[in-house]
Symmetry: D2
Subunit: 367 residues, 4 copies
């Protein structure tokens, strides 16, 4: 259960890494939005394997086909089904993993939950599942663009390398131009390349942090109590493979400040109150205040490594494993479009929900 | 919208800090569970203000009344409504805040979202809303106890003071005996008391970290993809007031390890595979592996401070504010039962969902 | 589970017939709507027992208290909790039913489902549960009034007495003035009074039909496929106690017409297409076409009768039962506000959802 | 929105009549269920056009492809995506309908709702959408079979022809052998054939009633209050195209009985209480009592007829229309698998939900 996400802009993904294909059904996209497969493909290209020597060499064209919900170049308001075929599946490469559990993978837990698993390439737990998310995120972005909302994510840390990036000004173009690391600090990016290549040579892997900023949200998005926008962002990001932590605004570092130092003073702005600082990360009480939403997402080092590791097999006997499949020594560059996609989905959903709240005139008008 | 949380064990909270009362409706609690108000009161007592000089002096008896869903000492399977009256409301204490926005509070954002707000004591954004969560969490714990699942949370950091606590062995009794800080490291606790009292004298406030461990979960809880149990825990914790970050297992620190150092090797155990280490925090691919679930939750320093701060009023004019109401110089001690409550709600929900998945016999039986 | 209904205008009811009280939490009511308990009480008065000699003589004041969600006379956008105490509970009157199953009641099925039941007066299956629905329906009506939508229901049949009422013109005032039968055909009403009183004298009971009309809905409300507005209306009405059938527009009688006779020809209207006839009942493809929505709801004769009936006890032994409690010889008059409440809830929900669909400009503008 | 149905056994359909294809994603099917496309195809064959001269001659192979969720012949517990291509689409046949509204179709209402529509063959409102439902229903039936639950539906009325069928004994085989009418009363079936063929010759169409019986449900399925099993069945059936009415048990006819005649007396049975009669239709208080669930569903005469009818075009100008496409003079025979599919989906969902309620031992054990 629960391959669905969102309330009004609601997606359901499907598919295993090996099998007929993967995809997504988007229910709740408003009608009359211009949309074609060309709007989706660029983001799938940024996500797919084989883009550079820093990531897995699995070759997948990952071509999106829109099966429904679009007519004469516009959304119909009906479900948009998008399918991507699995073309470079090599199930035989996983034969040696059929009867044992890869450390820090989901092999054992899926089997504990379901009593069986598709052992070919991770099955449902494969990163290929995220193709549907990225495709849906591209559609969400088309909607957000109509409201002037823009989202940029980048690699801000790989292992112990911390990039210097100005979250207030960095653009999506800066990230694209940063090359295969997707880190828009050239110096840090160069060191990241070296570290990732060394990890590959060592049969090892690296983790890191993706930072994302949402710009242009109006004040007022997010639902109090359980569906605070930071809570749904956390839910969204923690649902991505390999994520171990989430921060909004000042995050864990904020706990080292006192209230006086941490509070964001309000100052008069041309269109209403602004804050002098943004340790709130654009969200107060779970609702946007109009400042940039800034978040950080921690990705653990890739679990699949070619070094030999201890494990047990399905009979509970100790054994060892060294991965033979193609894999990423560092997922961070490919994680950037995933973080963007999830942020887009969350913000689009809250933006639509706010439409149902803003239905009556202001109090002052009616008194 | 969205004052509800959970899928099968589903709660809906209601109430503002000032008004008739606050409470919760629990829909989906299984029938035949022994339950009375006495099961709920101890947790409300741990949450309520006025327990020690470290927290707000607001006096609320916070007595729970069960309006429905229980008959002759057992749950009926029907909705359990629990109401707590507001008895020490002093709305006049908030008069001076009626027309201005407290920094890093939800005053401005609620008004941006809804066009009006209950300015008395935080309204819906008040921590009093969490009474309903704690009451529901106590009911969830009764259910989890039948499955041998136990949850312990404690204050692990206040400002720059880091406690040394063994997450493998610390018990709820240890936390209760730790006194008003709820930090079961006596040395750290003593320093925390000093720091919090100093912050109060300074008209300032402190933040910190609550750590929680879930013990006794069977392998297999949690739904892949969007409702991974770490994702729903993150959602739950980030929905608490003042939370800015969430980590599971190795968290952000895990990004500094390589894959070889980070992976949890499987080793044979008496009842199936165990892991030699637990950097996964008991969760792999979003599903429990039977090890302890370990998480950390960052709380920012309390926004309400008696020092003077810059802000603006509803007309957009710059002004200053110094809080006069009763408030917590540090919410961490009172946050412990909140974190426990949310963890209980999440785990109970996933545990019930797993009942609907385990309905067919194992594959081997049917072949 | 599932004491909740609606998507954006979402209600959760709670409470048994005997116990602390019954009520409802409304989540998703837009902010800035004028609301007080006085808006709710008239509908509760129309629903409550003891209004006339045609219905049960149980005495309940049924006074609504709004616990939350309203501030200074307006909705806050936060959950509106409404509670009504149980004041005339006489559990002793049900002692003789403790260990046996009333025919055509929910005693046996609740016990089969939950393993126990509150045997005092029907527990959760009591019609007192509908108090929360009626209170929420009154709030929904305040919202619908801002959109010019009005709903009128009336008793159109009791047993074999069929009223003549013009659905195009009958008003709520007509129904109120019709007296205790709520049948605005004076001749039929007089015969209904005689029949109901005779049934009471006979220790028997009668059923009938409530007809409802929704006027003023814009074209376009209702979601295709599973949440067609006629499907959600059917769901809502069939969830009321004692309902056995639902019809929209031509209903079962429409199956006796041919397509040529049944189709509603479109004709030009001042504000767009109208239909010459309305066998569609205002709904085509699950979406409103702007004509009146007309539906019929069948209520079985009251299950509680004072005549002796065969049944079995909890030990499976055959026995007999004659009801002693206070009960309605005919629920139809009290069913009218229930049908209105459910229709209001459904239409308000669809109306809010349409706000999230109408977010982009028309196609023609953007091309 | 809202192309999803169900809570634990949850389906999402997608697709228009013309476009890449139609299909369904099933989320929540338990793992380890044997499943292949061969389990689905027979039901699709019973639904598809072109089976006999009584129905539309549109030719569609309607071959189901399972894209995900099944591995080595068993369900994985992950989403099952099923796609059926559109192969005999003839959009040109609809060119003349592009700018006008077919009477009693959804053309006008879709345009009112969405501002645009796929005018080729009904788009999303086409009966082709039901392919996904039928495919999902076949999967649900595999699950229900493990619990001994069986569902049979048949054509009980066409226009004014009423079949005599014993609901207690009629089998699926009887319906299959009844030939193209799917009415297992040979005499009535013969008259139905004559009537339907006459309607076709007249350029007209007929409606009717499908009756369905669910056998083998344990007592206790169905959720009180809003998700009574009769309410969710009504929702499901009213969501099918062309349905105008729904009855459970005694239905509208039951309103003509008195309580004494209508009540189902309990009698001792070998495995607990049984009812001497079944006017409740197997459901009391929204929960199954173990007797057969019996329901009736009214289908209006097909809206598409070749006779000339009055209508208006998109500019509001009066015009006429005579359908040229291939269409069904009577949908009843093809409606049988649709009713069965929806009943299967509802019962499977309630059956899974009951697993989460039956988690604690009986009261007597714990006292």
């Amino acid at each position: 259960m629960s391959s669905s996400f969102g309330r009004l802009f609601r997606i359901s993904t499907f598919g295993e890494s090996h099998g007929g294909g993967v995809g997504v059904v988007i229910d709740g996209c408003p009608p009359r939005l211009e949309l074609s497969a060309d709007d989706i493909q660029p983001d799938l290209d940024r996500r797919r394997p084989g883009q550079s020597r820093l990531v897995t060499q699995r070759k997948e064209a990952d071509r999106a086909t829109i099966l429904s919900g679009v007519f004469e170049g516009r959304t119909l308001g009906t479900p948009i089904a998008i399918v991507v075929d699995n073309t470079d599946a090599r199930p035989a490469a996983y034969d040696h993993m059929k009867d044992l559990y890869r450390p820090s993978h989901a092999d054992f837990t899926y089997e504990a939950k379901y009593g069986l698993r598709n052992w070919q390439g991770g099955g449902r737990a494969s990163a290929r599942e995220t193709i549907g998310r990225v495709a849906a995120g591209a559609v969400a972005q088309k909607l957000l663009a109509t409201a002037g909302i823009d989202i940029v994510a980048w690699v801000s840390e790989v292992h112990d390398i911390v990039a210097k990036v100005d979250a207030d000004t960095v653009s999506g173009a800066d990230v694209d131009e940063a090359g295969p690391t997707r880190c828009p600090d050239p110096d840090a990016a160069a060191r990241m390349v070296d570290s990732i290549e060394q990890a590959r040579r060592d049969g090892d892997s690296l983790g890191g942090v993706v930072t994302a900023v949402v710009r242009g949200t109006p004040a007022g998005l997010g639902d109090p109590v359980f569906d605070k926008i930071d809570a749904t962002l956390a839910h969204a990001m923690m649902s991505l493979p390999a994520v171990k932590g989430f921060e909004i605004g000042s995050g864990f570092a904020g706990t080292k400040l006192t209230g006086l130092a941490h509070n964001d003073a309000f100052v008069p702005g041309p269109d209403g109150p602004r804050t002098a600082t943004n340790r709130s990360g654009g969200i107060q009480g779970g609702i946007t205040n109009g400042e940039d939403i800034v978040m950080r997402v921690a990705f653990k080092p890739t679990a699949t490594i070619s070094s030999e590791q201890d494990t047990v097999d399905r009979d509970g006997i100790a054994t060892t494993l060294a991965a033979k499949g193609r894999h990423d020594p560092c997922v961070l560059p490919r994680a950037v479009p995933l973080v963007e996609a999830m942020a887009r989905l969350v913000v689009a959903d809250h933006w639509l929900i706010q439409r149902s709240i803003d239905v009556l005139g202001p109090t002052d008008e009616t008194t």
